[in-house]
Symmetry: C2
Subunit: 195 residues, 2 copies
Amino acid sequence: MKDFSVRDQVQQAAVELFATKGYANTSVQEVVEAAGVTKGAMYHYYRSKDDLLFGIYERLLTLQQEHLDEIIGRGMPVAETLRAACVDVIETSIEYLPEGTVFFRSMHMLSPDRHDEVVRRRRRYNDDFVALIERGQSEGVFRTDIPRAVLMAHFFSDIHYLSQWYNPSGPESGTEVAEQITELFLDSLTTGVTS
Amino acid sequence: MKDFSVRDQVQQAAVELFATKGYANTSVQEVVEAAGVTKGAMYHYYRSKDDLLFGIYERLLTLQQEHLDEIIGRGMPVAETLRAACVDVIETSIEYLPEGTVFFRSMHMLSPDRHDEVVRRRRRYNDDFVALIERGQSEGVFRTDIPRAVLMAHFFSDIHYLSQWYNPSGPESGTEVAEQITELFLDSLTTGVTS
DNA sequence: CGCAAAAAACCGACCGCTCGGTATGTTAGC
DNA sequence: GCTAACATACCGAGCGGTCGGTTTTTTGCG
């Protein structure tokens, strides 16, 4: 019976270390020691340190895009869809808080092509969200006096910032915070709209 | 007539390079070449690469704290004070966009004591803002159904995120964006409050 | 099943190189 | 001639990555 795959052990240790010490300040040696394996073993599964880093991005990008696709696929009214999407992405980001820290802090450490792929996939995710806002605007439920880019940035900024302030062992659960932030965003998004 | 001080030239080049390539990926050699000086000159003015980085933090922290103190010192009504403070910090952050990029991305590259000082001073800045919200709540002009920590994070996230999306050569001026974001924040902050 | 051959997993000493930092000049103004 | 302001040559720690080899697991065949 297989314990835990070396691949996963290494990635887990890497996420933890990269999040606390930073990618550049973490040597491959430290990662493999934390994972309880050797350098040889790690380089058997990963071609480079960069590979290891990209794996973290890959995982988060795939997960969140899948979630978003599923929520949009439900075919609910646009306001409910957006609310569900917002709550979900915040909850997920809290669940993967160390990954988020690395994600937003270490993008420029990726090799150029990897970096481009992350930007591409992130943009697609962003565009899917913007499309929701656009729909809501044309249906008259969201305000139109502020550029969509600003509205979108206003929300994504919350995701970005989560790993900087949220404390999982604090008094508030992830779900609570997710709903509070979503509430704030939707309140500002619907201000001035006559219902 | 003194051209531009070597100190400033070096810091300027450093900010630019740290923002685009990242602190860890920028060698001291590259910095001094971009600044048009030599390594010897740089190490005459800075004790270490860390010193150079800290200088960027020092500058931004001092500037923003001074601005905030000044605005609070005007003694306006709390809602107006908060609005002015929000607009100002966004405008300033846009003016110092590369500094902001470095600020939020490279904090963990600072030496532990420097890191602690930045956290300390940042916390003071944060607390000054929270005090404004608290005042507004006790005066009944801001909502009280969401924890202050969440409200505050919701705004600071916008500052954080600015360098990730705002394009100074785009169609919107810094002031416009500053007012739009502030509007969104204040709208969400005053939702549900009977005026 | 038995067992050898092949493949996958893993080890760890080692290497080339980069980079922050220093030591030792050299120049110019007072 | 003394100090501040640089320039140049150099150092060595630490890093990512490699590579020859060993152990463990899987496969194939009688």
